[in-house]
């Protein structure tokens, strides 16, 4: 029925043929590109993989060198860095004691967590005029009541713990099954009141020894603790006997809510301790990392915790520290393991922090876990 173009079958170099040739050409070019530039990507499929390689094997030295030689993040494409990182995963990790000790001694000179991490009665005597970290004009006068809240001395000392886990909240933790490995650590740090409920404990574990709380969370989710307090207390109860760590003297807005946390826990007769970051420690840590190329308005809580952990623990393991939109294999992940709320842009320099961790991993100072655990 109907009319068909009689010339259509004779259209040798007509529109349709040209179109088909064009598609074929495009496909060939794409394939060639894959083969030429994705060498590493294909290589893994050709190489025979026989279990994790020894730490000191030449292959591993080479792979580690691949990462260490990336001096700044912008030197390579992100995918290239991911590939190198992924290749390194086949090597076993071992601590490099010399490198680690060197690094730790640098930290002890700059920051000295074992005596300055928290405000204590020893390092902040009564009547001290405490300077805030960012509100440089702001001064907090330590009176009797606040002074009594401080611990007598730092509760932790240098290299007290054998194996520590610092748990970030990166979406990379989702379905990682790392819960058991995290729980097996001697000391576990967590950031920003993360959920560790039944839904997540397989991936993130439950053991918590120190949990930080960002005062902005208290302000937003708990009305500065001026109204209900039980919900906040219930949230903290999940962490059982974990100490609560707050940047009370970061800026003037944080102080009141942070101090209120102490009152809440006292009122409900909780055993949990409340500690406050010493503002001078925070200043020193950010200054140190600024020197290492972390340019941000503020270093993240995770970075501060890792820095502290490096001084307090012999071996530091990082979980959930991965601030890229995709995992090393290129699959997109959520921002946090529990939600996908992106942070305020330009506040933290997460990629640069992670990049530093990867470096430190390659040098054997700490270990970054980005894959799944057995």
């Amino acid at each position: 029925m109907g009319y068909t173009d009689p010339s259509s079958s004779r259209d040798l170099l007509g529109n349709r043929t040209l179109f088909f040739i064009f598609i074929c050409a495009f496909a060939v070019v794409t394939l060639l590109q894959q083969i030429l530039y994705g060498r590493n990507y294909l290589k893994r499929y050709f190489e025979f993989y026989e279990g994790p390689l020894e730490y000191n094997s030449t292959k591993c030295l080479e792979l580690r060198q691949d990462i260490i030689e990336v001096k700044v993040l912008s030197m390579v494409k992100q995918t290239e860095l991911f590939d190198r990182w992924k290749s390194l995963q086949m090597c076993k990790w071992e601590m490099n004691v010399t490198e680690a000790n060197l690094f730790k001694s640098t930290l002890s000179r700059c920051c000295n967590a074992p005596s300055f991490l928290f405000t204590t009665q020893k390092n902040t005597p009564l009547g001290t005029k405490l300077k805030y970290e960012v509100d440089t004009s702001g001064i907090f006068h330590i009176n009797q009541e606040i002074f009594k809240m401080f611990p007598k001395d730092m509760p932790y000392h240098r290299s007290q713990f054998k194996r520590c886990a610092v748990v970030g909240n990166g979406g990379i933790l989702k379905n990682s099954r790392c819960g058991r490995e995290i729980d097996s650590a001697d000391f576990v740090f967590r950031c920003n009141l993360p959920p560790i409920s039944d839904k997540y404990f397989m991936d993130v574990g439950v053991k918590t020894d120190v949990v930080t709380v960002n005062p902005s969370i208290i302000t937003e989710r708990f009305h500065k603790l001026e109204k209900w307090r039980k919900p906040f207390y219930d949230v903290l109860q999940v962490y059982e006997n974990a100490s609560v760590l707050l940047p009370a003297f970061y800026n003037t807005r944080n102080t009141d809510v942070s101090i209120r946390v102490k009152y809440v826990l006292d009122d409900f007769e909780s055993q949990q301790a409340v500690y406050y970051f010493h503002p001078q420690y925070l200043i020193n840590v950010s200054r140190y990392w600024l020197g290492q190329g972390v340019r941000a308005k503020r270093v993240s809580t995770g970075l501060i915790l890792v820095t502290a952990a490096l001084e307090l623990c012999e071996e530091v393991h990082l979980f959930g520290f991965w601030a890229f939109p995709m995992n090393p294999s290129g699959i997109f992940i959520t921002h946090h393991y529990y939600d996908n709320v992106k942070p305020r842009p330009g506040f933290h320099a997460m990629p640069s922090e992670i990049f530093n961790f990867l470096h430190m991993h390659s040098k054997g100072i700490l270990r970054v876990h980005t894959g799944t655990c057995s």
């Binding site: 001026e226 109204k227 209900w228 307090r229 039980k230 207390y233 009141d256 101090i259 209120r260 009152y263 006292d266 009122d267």
Partner: protein
């Protein structure tokens, strides 16, 4: 002199007229037209009445209750409830000039469905905090009532329970107390929760919507008690009720910036209860026998002058006592125990 003459108006009152004006003012100052009887006269008046037996006048009580119901409707409007304050209602504060809040979802959820009492209440005791209660031994009599109302979170510790009783169904709390004694409940709240434990299962009645500064502390009292799972419940005073009561008493001739909590409570009790007995309403510095007494039964902190008109309020209550609407207990309920001379 020329300059002065320029400033003064050409025509002015004759000297005699101004002198007369000044004289009249002085006269009124020395012998005011409206004058409150002073303390001694009131005590004398009370003493004259004291000998006579008091009898409840049912008709007068019913009449007064009807009067209150017409003006203020205590049964419905006594507290903020979901029924009388629907969401979105504009609430005008009774202690502020032209200030209102709209009831939002969060606030609405704090109100009970309706006034949570079994109305009408049978026998009520309203306990003021007057120093006259000290060594009165009225505790037992106060506790015999079905419903005991107290003012401003009074102490009920063991040393006072003989005089003021221990039972409480309703206790008012002034936001200013929360502010002074408990730092607005912004810091530690345990002290507050512990201090209201003596009131057992009672309602804490707070004027949350009278003053701007009172709203925050009052709501915080609610949050605090809910957080701790305390036995006490919070009722918020209805500003419309408070305003109506003030108007009612103003029309009866009480000139004060604000009525005292005690009078609010007595008015509410008169509307809610069938029999009302009031204790500890005695704002004078001497008792009926001329002995000096402290201002409160627990301390002697005098209030700011010129805020409440206590003597006027007392006279009104005394008038109600005389007409048999309520009973005012001023004498000790039982003879004070003789002090045993130590051997």
């Amino acid at each position: 002199m020329a300059g002065l003459a320029w400033k003064w108006p050409r025509t002015r009152l004759p000297v005699g007229a101004s002198a007369l004006g000044v004289f009249v003012l002085c006269w009124l100052y020395v012998f005011p037209v409206y004058r409150l009887p002073d303390e001694k006269e009131i005590v004398q008046g009370v003493l004259l009445q004291q000998g006579k037996a008091w009898r409840r006048n049912q008709t007068a009580a019913a009449l007064f209750r009807k009067l209150l119901e017409e003006c203020c409707d205590p049964g419905q409007l006594f507290a903020m409830t979901k029924m009388n304050s629907p969401m979105g209602k504009n609430l005008w504060f009774d202690g502020e000039f032209l200030y209102s809040v709209t009831i939002d979802n969060a606030t609405y959820s704090l109100f009970p469905q309706a006034t949570p009492f079994q109305l009408p209440l049978k026998k009520c005791s309203v306990v003021g905090n007057g120093g006259i209660l000290k060594k009165s031994g009225c505790g037992k009599q106060i506790d015999q009532a079905d419903f005991v109302m107290r003012c401003n979170l009074p102490p009920l510790s063991r040393e006072y329970s003989k005089d003021v009783g221990s039972k409480t169904q309703l206790v008012t709390a002034n936001p200013s107390i929360i502010q002074k004694r408990f730092q607005n409940l912004l810091w530690s709240r345990k002290a507050f929760v512990d201090s209201v434990k003596v009131y057992n299962h009672s309602y804490i009645y707070m004027p949350a919507f009278s003053m701007k500064t009172g709203t925050g502390p009052s709501l915080r009292v609610y949050y605090t008690l809910a957080d701790f799972g305390a036995k006490q419940a919070v009722l918020f005073a209805n500003p419309n009720f408070l305003r109506d009561i003030s108007k009612f008493w103003k029309s009866k001739g009480i000139h004060a910036k604000r009525l005292s909590t005690g009078l609010f409570l007595v008015s509410a009790a008169l509307g809610l209860c069938e029999e009302v007995t009031i204790y500890g309403f005695w704002p004078f510095s001497v008792d009926l026998h001329g002995k000096f007494i402290s201002h409160h039964y627990y301390d002697n902190v005098l209030p700011d002058s010129g805020f409440h008109a206590m003597p006027e309020e007392f006279l009104q209550l005394w008038f109600l006592h005389k007409s048999g609407v309520l009973r005012m207990q001023l004498e000790p309920c039982e003879d004070p125990p003789l002090i045993q001379p130590s051997a």
